[in-house]
Symmetry: C2
Subunit: 394 residues, 2 copies
């Protein structure tokens, strides 16, 4: 009774979501405290108190007809200005209200960018490991996902691999730093080299290639890691941002797409993005949270909680014998599985009430992802299970 497209999607449906739902099932059997759910990037650090105050203050003081009403599909102009100014302050960019379109999270931002760019058969390049949902986002518009395999222990993008897959049908490249699932941060050198390759390609072929920089983890970094602002290195860059992680608001679906004024085709692209927001059914980013984001544009959750979780889990897993890259940002660990079959390992881990996601969901088999944005006690109590999970293969 459902479309062929959806049959395939449901059959291959999100391994992450499947684990999340398995976790809820196991919690009913064993009690929530005895299930160690590392499946989903659902932040467990409270939003800044400023969020609660902003919600209450806005609800008490603003005219509700204006507050909950329609606005331009791009969002409230003053919200867009506040967001632009916050980015300008922090990264010395030059954005105005017509460079920020408020969206239904980063997922909404990426989808309106792809809707604007893609005709059926166009190609979009990603670097493994990558957030598995990109697969479906590209497919939403008849595009083809082209995967550059991972080629390094530290999960930097394989730029030689990029050169091999660029084609006349390439319309966009998606990057995600800090990276989900690996926690890698792309350095300034990497971004410069990436930009150089794309510039050369554009010059040689006359085809514009757009970079979509998916940055929900921009503020979640460790050991003083720096996240360069990508539009400064490559002008044909869309920045897809979400307040889901920096403000712990994933359920509210609030984010934006930044579109630099110097982008090739800006004049044509800007109105198309607003139209895409409308016709894809988003219409606009939720209005109350646009007002909240304007007030709290510079706020960030207490990331030290994630830093400590990272240290505990990383050090413990390495001690146990897991082979693991130390994340520089985001809130995921992406260790090698002790056996080659990552799906079998994740399945076996369930007997220890441990919910983790197989690396193949991110284009890198032989690894698993553990989201450590959980309660401290979950991290601590889970260690016996991680030990048992690797121990069975000794």
């Amino acid at each position: 009774m459902i479309s062929k497209t959806m049959k395939e999607i449901v059959a291959n449906s999100s391994a992450i979501r499947a684990m999340f739902e398995e976790g809820q099932r196991l919690a009913l059997i064993h009690g929530a405290g005895r299930v160690y759910d590392f499946s989903l990037g659902n932040p467990n650090v409270a939003p800044p108190e400023a969020i609660r105050r902003a919600i209450i203050n806005i609800a008490e003081s603003e005219d509700p007809v204006f507050l909950h009403g329609y606005m331009a599909n791009a969002g409230y102009p003053d919200t867009r200005r506040a967001v632009a100014e916050s980015i300008n302050r922090r990264y010395a960019t030059n954005f105005g209200e017509d460079n920020i379109i408020m969206t239904v999270g980063a997922a909404g931002a990426i989808n309106i960018a792809l809707k604007t760019l893609l005709d059926p058969g166009d190609e979009v390049i990603v670097f493994a490991p990558f957030f598995g949902e990109y697969r479906w986002y590209v497919r939403n518009f008849g595009g083809e996902l082209v995967i550059v395999p991972n080629a390094s222990e530290d999960f930097q993008p394989d730029l030689n691999g990029l050169e091999r897959v660029l084609s006349p049908r390439t319309r966009a490249v998606i990057i995600n730093s800090p990276n989900n699932p690996s926690g890698a941060v792309y350095s300034e050198e990497t971004l410069k080299a990436l930009a150089g390759i794309l510039e050369d390609w554009q010059k040689k072929t006359g085809n514009a290639v757009y970079l979509i920089s998916d940055e929900p983890y921009r503020e979640i970094v460790y050991d003083g890691a720096i996240i360069p602002y990508v539009t400064k290195y490559y002008k044909n860059t869309f920045v897809a941002y979400s307040y889901s992680k920096a403000l712990s608001l994933p359920g509210e679906r609030i984010g934006y797409l930044a579109v630099p004024p110097e982008m090739d085709g800006y004049a044509e692209i800007w109105p198309a993005l607003a139209a895409a927001n409308r016709i894809l059914g988003f219409v606009n980013s939720p209005s109350l949270f646009q007002r909240v984001a304007a007030v709290c544009a510079d706020a960030v959750v207490d990331t030290s909680v994630y830093a400590e979780n990272r240290d505990i889990l990383y050090n413990s897993l390495v001690d146990m014998g897991y082979d693991c890259f130390k994340p520089q940002g985001a809130f995921y660990l992406f260790p090698k599985t002790p056996i080659p079959d990552d799906a079998a390992f994740c399945e076996a881990a369930k007997q220890y009430r441990l919910l983790i996601v197989a690396g193949r969901a991110f284009g890198v088999p032989g690894h698993f992802r553990a989201a450590f944005c959980v309660k401290r006690e979950t991290v601590l109590n889970s260690l016996e299970s991680f030990k048992a999970a690797i121990g069975q293969y000794r």
Copy 2:
């Protein structure tokens, strides 16, 4: 620089939105009080005070990690139960939490239903006049919109026309009662006859045909008009609902899709809808407003304001010589234009600072739509302009 698909969409972009933006431009020149903007269904009646209280109370009392976090893609189970129970109380239906998926407004609800149903080339039937966005929603998934022309003065669906266009490729029929733009309400007899035709067709061909009933105006009715609950007449019915109009919350993007348990293919359709919510980039309906909707599921704005606006505008326009159907619901008037060219009439009306939308945007040229969900003073002050607009053709 943009896709062929988006070029066409931007070129034909929403006449409604274009008028809304023209109104904002004229307001800067003439002052907002001297521009009569009837372009957009943006409610001017305040949300019930219960909304403000619910927002503040929920923000003050609920755990913010839970309140603003991810939940199942279908929405919070308790919200879905509260919504189901509210519908059951009012319409004697038999819905549970697994029959309600919370969505990003009715636009989100229609899009996830179409994503679930359509393969490229599948046909979706609408009755003119119809909400113009259906055109793009169907196109989002490669579907073909099939329009049954209007055949009656009172804008009832042409069921003979339906029988003529049903084809082996028909996957869905969209209806919208109370209707935007006409204000017509489809009677119980009409719905029974419509259901009969679809049942016969299904029996004859073995093809399931789904009805999508788009009902954001269900509560906005006049003179005691009754809106039958469509799932009772045809089991293969999705009800797409939004709180945009009944609670004056269009900017918040909160609504749901109701999916009756007896629907053909329910077991396959239900998980596909949740997956569609995810992969289209909605992920879930905004979380705080899910909690608000649960508390306020039975609330409705003061519709007497709309009833009075309707009476003033309808009576005045008829007195001036406009040929106009009296709306039974929603908040639009859909009169004939005094000249055949509706686009020319709407363009000419701008000189009287009157913003109305040409009927061709809704599949019925020779009419215009005036959204009377505006301030009373706008209705009263606009009357001279409506008079001048028809007067120029005397």
